[in-house]
């Protein structure tokens, strides 16, 4: 038996959540916040959600996509379709469009994507490569990397993310799937390759579906930093991946397979970036 409570502001939902104890989202403590509901409603339908109370918010601020300093603020309630179609977030269109089919994209939110278990989290993988920051209902901002390192189903609700706008062409995204055009990720790869006077400076390489949350492949980043995209460097970066990735087995692919093909896909993506 489930009760649903709808709040006018995210802050009200967040404090109602906190008032319920430490539990906050699906699987924790009996209360669950619902964004687009693509994952939460599955749990409701199958009765395996471990929560009896759903909290929602119809805060219009959650839908905002707007310039913020040198970047863009994207509200947690913005859908993949809204992000893919908005001028301010055109650099994320490819990653947002990689999520699900059209109906899923009309429903799936940014907030939910940040908490989606693997093999989900395609958009979040791109956000990690862009050094986005997660803004919570209490106004705090956390770098995406520490957010994922400590991702918990408790704590204040997410209000949105702020994303530094990348220079054109600097972000590259690839989703590896087994079904076309739609299919969930064997892995998602997002790389940011900014060149300063002919050398890479500030390389980011992020993988989705290669661990419990999207992760940065830091050894591969260091292998590229300060140089170019020569074959030898690409090969060195690809070789290091095993240190940073910890994929799991699922119905799509075994952990072994994911580890084995990650270097191939990263090298392909880097070579295609070199070719322009």
């Amino acid at each position: 038996m489930i009760t649903v409570e709808t709040f006018d502001t995210l802050a009200a939902a967040s404090s109602a959540m906190a008032g319920a104890g430490s539990g906050n989202r699906a699987g924790a403590g009996g209360s669950c916040y619902m964004g687009g509901g693509t994952l939460v409603m599955r749990a409701v339908n199958y009765g395996d959600g471990d929560f009896s109370r759903i909290l929602r918010s119809r805060d219009p601020a959650l839908l905002r996509i707007e310039p913020d300093g040198g970047g863009v603020f994207i509200g947690a309630g913005a859908t993949m379709a809204a992000i893919a179609g908005h001028r301010e977030t055109a650099f994320l269109a490819e990653a947002a469009t990689a999520v699900g089919g059209p109906a899923i994209r009309n429903m799936a939110t940014l907030g939910g994507n940040l908490f989606a278990p693997p093999p989900y989290g395609d958009l979040s993988t791109a956000l990690l490569a862009l050094d986005a920051r997660v803004r919570t209902a209490d106004g705090q901002e956390t770098p995406m990397e520490s957010f994922f390192a400590r991702r918990r189903m408790t704590g204040p609700l997410v209000a949105g993310v702020t994303v530094p706008r990348p220079e054109p062409g600097v972000l590259r995204f690839r989703k590896v799937t087994r079904v076309r055009p739609k299919g969930v990720s064997v892995m998602a790869i997002a790389v940011r390759l900014p060149f300063r006077s002919g050398r890479l400076a500030g390389v980011r390489i992020a993988f989705g579906a290669m661990g419990p949350t999207p992760v940065r492949a830091k050894s591969a980043e260091s292998a590229l930093e300060g140089g170019g995209l020569e074959d030898a460097r690409i090969a060195r970066a690809a070789e290091t991946l095993a240190h940073d990735l910890a994929p799991a087995d699922d119905a799509l692919a075994s952990a072994w397979y994911r580890q084995a093909v990650a270097p191939v896909h990263l090298a392909r993506l880097l070579r295609s970036a070199r070719e322009g």
């Binding site: 038996m1 489930i2 009760t3 649903v4 509901g37 693509t38 409603m41 059209p102 055009p181």
Partner: protein, 161 residues
């Protein structure tokens, strides 16, 4: 159990119903209102059988919280025909053998309807993308894609006349 009153327009007709906490829109449409056109395939967003339009936007009814459509306009395949006159999509599906068992058909029709509303002259790849969330176990998809393209041409011709 607490019930929540929800009112929405279903294919243009005002509809009011009490829903249970956590009840999904598909269940409300099929068991509550008696519109059996959206189908239950998976209950987890994976098959597209329950595709409907909510305020003109394609959604999956099985993972839509029923009370979230309060005040909205919901359209299902049952509302496509105008009396005895089939919608051009329905006609094209029939003529192109795009339905075999027919279980996926109402969802395919709504996904196609959402596409053609936004893009009256889609390329084949755009049709493929538009129905990429809808599974069909019978047709192999080709007749469905052809039917949608045929209906698009028909609708464009109709508008020009």
């Amino acid at each position: 159990m607490t019930k929540t009153a929800v009112t929405f327009r279903l294919n243009g007709a005002e509809t009011a119903i009490f829903v249970d906490g956590g009840q999904n829109l598909l269940d409300v449409l099929r068991r509550g209102v008696g519109d059996l056109s959206p189908k239950y395939g998976c209950g987890q967003g994976g098959c597209g059988g329950c595709s409907v339009l909510v305020d003109g936007t394609l959604r999956l009814a099985c993972i839509t919280l029923a009370e979230s459509v309060d005040g909205a306009s919901v359209e299902t395949a049952a509302g496509l025909a105008d009396g005895p006159r089939l919608h051009p999509l329905q006609k094209a599906f029939m003529e192109g053998f795009a339905a075999q068992c027919g279980y996926c058909t109402p969802g395919m029709l709504m996904a196609a309807r959402a596409l053609l509303d936004a893009n009256p002259d889609p390329a084949r790849e755009e049709v493929v993308e538009a129905i990429s969330g809808n599974l069909c176990r019978c047709t192999g998809y080709e007749p469905i894609i052809d039917a949608i393209l045929a209906a698009a041409a028909d609708l464009r011709g109709g508008a020009a006349r």
